[in-house]
């Protein structure tokens, strides 16, 4: 029965969560924050599905302490996860929480925001995030409530600062450069570069170790990867994976996966191989290079096929 419930949840998120996986539930209080650069703290999210035990705390979340205040880089996957982060921040600084980034619409990245509403920060999101939350917010929330209950899930929080053109946030001693990307991982990906540490925060435009999930545009993602490369960062904090990685090899791995996915899907379309056959054959050479491959790769192929069959 337990197994059946887990798989049902997985299916409930099914098309949309994309960052969920069975088992491996870790208690939220087992997490810890790493100081990946002076004043920059990140909690690694495990490669797991949202479960009642882990509070959907599965993304890399954290904060940057500037002279004038705190910027939350990712809010968490639930109200409970956000409360955990809020408490960790309070242990380390008494500076005000001035900004909370909502990096894209996926639930493991936005449902922590409710924990910061009392701080009245500026909630920063891509200009397309509001529309995406309108379309999916309630859907995600209902499914998260089924797993965590309403109290731990929290509300859908909307951005109060919508980013379209490149923008900057001044924290006094460091500037955060924001980029609103074209449709890639999703249609509302926001990345940032911290000039204080030189660290790039691509959010889910960079998966490391964990299989990427495609929920926007394959060709668009490959374009935005080139844009990220142009930012000149040596190190990055990915949305999923280790808390700090060398940027060049990490983005090369992702680009390789997406390129193979593109090329082999195109070949399948050209050969008249139907979608149900393509999901079994395309990019199988990537199988041993990613965790959760079996769970998400077939869906990525489905997404890619739909995008490329009309080329």
């Amino acid at each position: 029965m337990t197994g059946a419930r887990a798989t049902r949840r997985q299916a409930l998120f099914g098309g949309l969560c994309l960052c969920c996986l069975p088992t491996l539930g870790r208690a939220a209080d087992a997490f810890s924050l790493d100081e990946v650069a002076p004043g920059v703290f990140v909690r690694r999210g495990p490669d797991a599905e949202a479960t009642a035990e882990n509070n959907d705390a599965i993304a890399n979340i954290g904060f940057i302490v500037g002279r004038d205040g705190v910027l939350v880089t990712e809010s968490g996957g639930s109200l409970a996860d956000g409360h955990w982060l809020r408490a960790e921040i309070a242990k380390r600084t008494s500076k005000p929480i001035k900004y909370v980034l909502l990096t894209h619409v996926h639930p493991d990245h936005v449902f922590g925001a409710g924990a910061f509403q009392g701080d009245a920060p500026t909630f920063v999101g891509h200009a397309a995030l509001r529309g995406a939350l309108d379309a999916r917010g309630d859907f995600y929330r209902q499914r998260l409530v089924e797993i965590l209950g309403a109290e731990r899930t929290g509300p859908v929080v909307y951005p109060t600062l919508e980013v379209k053109e490149p923008a900057e946030i001044d924290l006094g001693d460091r500037t955060i450069r924001l980029t609103a990307h074209g449709t890639a991982h999703t249609n509302c990906d926001l990345s940032m570069l911290d000039t204080g540490s030189g660290l790039l925060f691509p959010a889910d435009l960079l998966f490391v170790g964990r299989i990427p999930s495609l929920d926007g545009s394959l060709l668009g993602w490959l374009r935005e990867i080139e844009r990220l490369k142009g930012m000149g960062a040596a190190a990055a904090v990915p949305g999923h994976g280790p808390v700090r990685v060398e940027f060049a090899p990490a983005i090369a791995d992702l680009a390789r996966y997406l390129t193979v996915l593109r090329d082999e899907t195109r070949a399948a379309v050209a050969a008249g191989r139907p979608i149900e056959a393509a999901v079994r054959t395309v990019a199988q050479g990537e199988k041993d290079r990613w965790s959760l491959f079996e769970t998400y790769h077939g869906r990525n192929v489905t997404q890619a096929y739909q995008e490329l069959e009309w080329e």
């Binding site: 798989t7 099914g14 309108d134 999916r136 859907f139 926007g216 008249g272 979608i275 869906r299």
Partner: protein, 271 residues
């Protein structure tokens, strides 16, 4: 049984589709599923007998859908010369009756493929109607969830772009009256009526391809009646016998009065 089927027909209204609570799913017993199917059968076929036959039609479907809003279905029909029609039903979808094919003289109904939405853990049923009036059914269980209500991931406006555009790909040798396989692609959002509009925050009204005719020359290949369970941008694989002169013509309508017609020339034989 959790609830009587009210929204069963192929011409249901959007109002009947207002988001219903989950009424069936992973926890239903086999008896509940069987009772549901009995009820559906009665509403579609009346008092006609529907015989179980795993061989008359074989359903190819993933045991667990990778993407609930695009579940590829393959239907292989054994005695294709005797086939008159084909029904596809997704028992636990809000509107279970997904598609009905009626084959014409130019059809080669050995295999049909389509892509559907699956909203719940459910049995899917295929029923073949033979020329002598028998109904033969087979079933498969599919695990999926949320396929009908899942947001499209783009604005309605974007989803409607190019609506009515079509493409057709052919394979096989079009000579000597041998069957030609074809893939028909139709640009159409096939809104289920359960997806929320991003701007108005109302449910986007159901708008789906309800009728589609494929002909070769003046002979019918098939007539399809579709519903909201067909995935957006419908793709249908079929085969036809290219006897006489083409081209292949596709005429489609949707439930909101949209009407599109396209012609495709069958490539000439390569040898």
């Amino acid at each position: 049984m959790k609830r009587l089927l009210l929204a069963l027909s192929l011409t249901l209204s959007a109002a009947a589709l207002a988001p219903a609570p989950v009424r069936a799913g992973a926890t239903d017993s086999d008896e509940e599923r069987a009772a549901r199917w009995t009820e559906i059968k009665k509403s579609i076929f009346g008092d006609r007998t529907v015989e179980a036959s795993e061989t008359a039609v074989k359903i190819d479907a993933p045991a667990r859908a990778l993407d609930a809003s695009l579940v590829p279905i393959g239907l292989t029909l054994a005695d294709k010369d005797q086939v008159k029609g084909l029904y596809f039903i997704i028992d636990d979808n809000p509107s279970p009756y997904a598609a009905r094919f009626s084959f014409g003289p130019a059809a080669d109904p050995g295999e049909i493929k389509l892509r559907v939405r699956v909203n719940n853990y459910t049995n899917v049923h295929a029923v073949v109607e033979t020329k002598d009036g028998r109904l033969l059914e087979s079933a498969k269980f599919v695990k999926a969830s949320g396929g009908c209500s899942a947001p499209m991931g783009m604005s309605d406006e974007e989803a409607m772009k190019g609506m009515g555009e079509m493409r057709m790909k052919f394979s096989g040798d079009p000579q000597g009256g041998k069957p030609v396989e074809a893939t028909l692609m139709v640009r159409h959002p096939n809104f289920s009526g359960m997806q929320m509009n991003q701007v108005t925050r109302d449910y986007t009204p159901a708008r789906y391809v309800d009728k589609l005719d494929v002909t070769y020359g003046d002979k019918l290949v098939f007539h399809l009646e579709g519903d909201i369970s067909i995935a957006s941008n419908p793709v249908i694989n079929f085969a036809f016998v290219p006897e006489g002169k083409g081209p292949v013509t596709v005429a489609a309508t949707d439930n909101q009065g949209g009407r599109w017609e396209h012609r495709f020339d069958v490539p000439s034989a390569s040898n």
